[in-house]
Symmetry: C2
Subunit: 352 residues, 2 copies
Amino acid sequence: MDRVKKTKIKATPRMSRVTIIDVAEQAGVHWSTVSRALNPAKRHLISPEMIERISACVKRLGYRQNAMASALRTQKTRTIGVIVSNLGDPIHPPIVRAIEDRLGEIGYVVFVGNTDNDSMREAALIDRFISQGVDGLIVATFKLKDPLVDKCLLAGVPTVAVFRDPERPEIPSVRVDDAEAMARAVRHLVELGHRKIAHVGGPQNLSTGRNRYRGFRKACKTAFGADSEVIAKFGKAFTVDEGHSACGELLDQHRAITAIVAGNDMLAIGCLSAINHRGIKCPGDISLIGMNDMLFMDAVYPPLTTMHTPSRELGLQAANLLIDMIDGKKIEKGRHILASNLIIRSSASKPN
Amino acid sequence: MDRVKKTKIKATPRMSRVTIIDVAEQAGVHWSTVSRALNPAKRHLISPEMIERISACVKRLGYRQNAMASALRTQKTRTIGVIVSNLGDPIHPPIVRAIEDRLGEIGYVVFVGNTDNDSMREAALIDRFISQGVDGLIVATFKLKDPLVDKCLLAGVPTVAVFRDPERPEIPSVRVDDAEAMARAVRHLVELGHRKIAHVGGPQNLSTGRNRYRGFRKACKTAFGADSEVIAKFGKAFTVDEGHSACGELLDQHRAITAIVAGNDMLAIGCLSAINHRGIKCPGDISLIGMNDMLFMDAVYPPLTTMHTPSRELGLQAANLLIDMIDGKKIEKGRHILASNLIIRSSASKPN
């Protein structure tokens, strides 16, 4: 085994770096002793003198442990894959950042891939990550009842859903209480005196889109009675453009509305642009509440009242769950749900 | 070799998936024939009938190529590492996104790491990426004359600098013409009639910070004479907070200034907050121009006049250069410099 490995290493250019075999030769020991000396979990098996001798050789030769070789020994690559729809959407970078911070602390490196919510790209990316031997996956793109969950389960790769919840009991998910966030936004508008409130929502095949609409509808029924009309338009995606067109239709068809709860801040920015485009005033004529509290929502005009999503906390909790799963610890498989807080700025006021 | 590998594979849980050996046994051929059939570059060496027979076995067994095993054969991991200071800074996600899009097209997966401009974290991350066997690195964090460039060169890993230029001839860099961008901003303000223009710049140990200041200074000297005073304050980082405090000092010490050119949009948003904080009007009392044209700079108040950085193009060009380097093609090692365009919005107007 030792001999085979050595031959292989010498035969190839990338491996012409210093190897564990070179260290072993210098120290005059078997390579497995070097391996033990370098492994914190097994170091106690050998003498302190031997550790010192090997350390000196490691330093002298400038040996760096090779992750590929280590992966073949330990069956862990210390890599994980993170899948988001679009890094350019400001909700995702803080989540990815938190995951990388947490996993970086314990020596993991993080693959990141974008899918634009295209199921084919998602499947291909999961395949590539699995084929790279990732120890786990954190997925922010699962749709409701997403069959791609089966792909991950079948491959036996520990998987955590973050932000969007596929609602599959086999894997844990970390998300905010989307329904309650929208209900809170509606209650704030009702308290301000609004009676005609509409929703500009996102895709209904995503937990985020569906749960936020459900929360909106339920809060309206509670405030205005079970028979009250529920006014909503849905974008095909959570984007500024979709928010602009959905809000445009809404304003053209329902002239009595005095407030809008948007399914997220991207949609809200699109609503603002549609409102401005028509010469309507926000908050004077139409109040607006967003969701997520993305970067710069305090600097837009008018500063956006929105529901704050604790993005960093979502990333950290997802990373911690995944670490426990990789380490074989027992974890709670269900939903891990964090609260959103109302951030009052200037886009929602009393109706005229 | 064949036998050793097989034994190892059978001995470990992760490797208990279907292997190339299983496919070879089913097809009744040597595993190297299967390997050739699956490699587009070598497929022509075997008969179409054999390819068909092997493909059928691959499908029947559900074999997926294992990247680690493939890496040991080809000495390519088809992974690359991307290093940014902070994914939460909106300038970086579009660059990373473009790199992932381009490399994803040809089957690469992308590691991403954040360093907060901490040299220790940068060194550790480069080590981890190299130890993972990345085929190349794209680094957006190099400081001027950064010794970390040597680490990459020494490891023999193809490396491209993006956005920030370490000004080391050994590696290619892709960036915008920072000096000319600032000069263009100054000329726009001069054309509007401003005569007292100040700079709120970034760290001077970064090419971005230094070249933008140089471009600002040169354009002022050209406009107002070689003996004219150059007014500038520098943030310790390109952040909103640093922009706020640097602009605050500036406004307190130089009451005659009528315009500010900020080193980037983050600093500009900080300037806006300092301006508002003092009850000064932008653009009425102070005109402001930013740099980069980050997401939402059209939605802030007042909509920010800024120099547009073609972030996606930077990422694509860096990815293309790296691909050529990995493929052993001859590339131009020098600086690849893209232009910035002035985007006129509402934050800069004629002085009062």
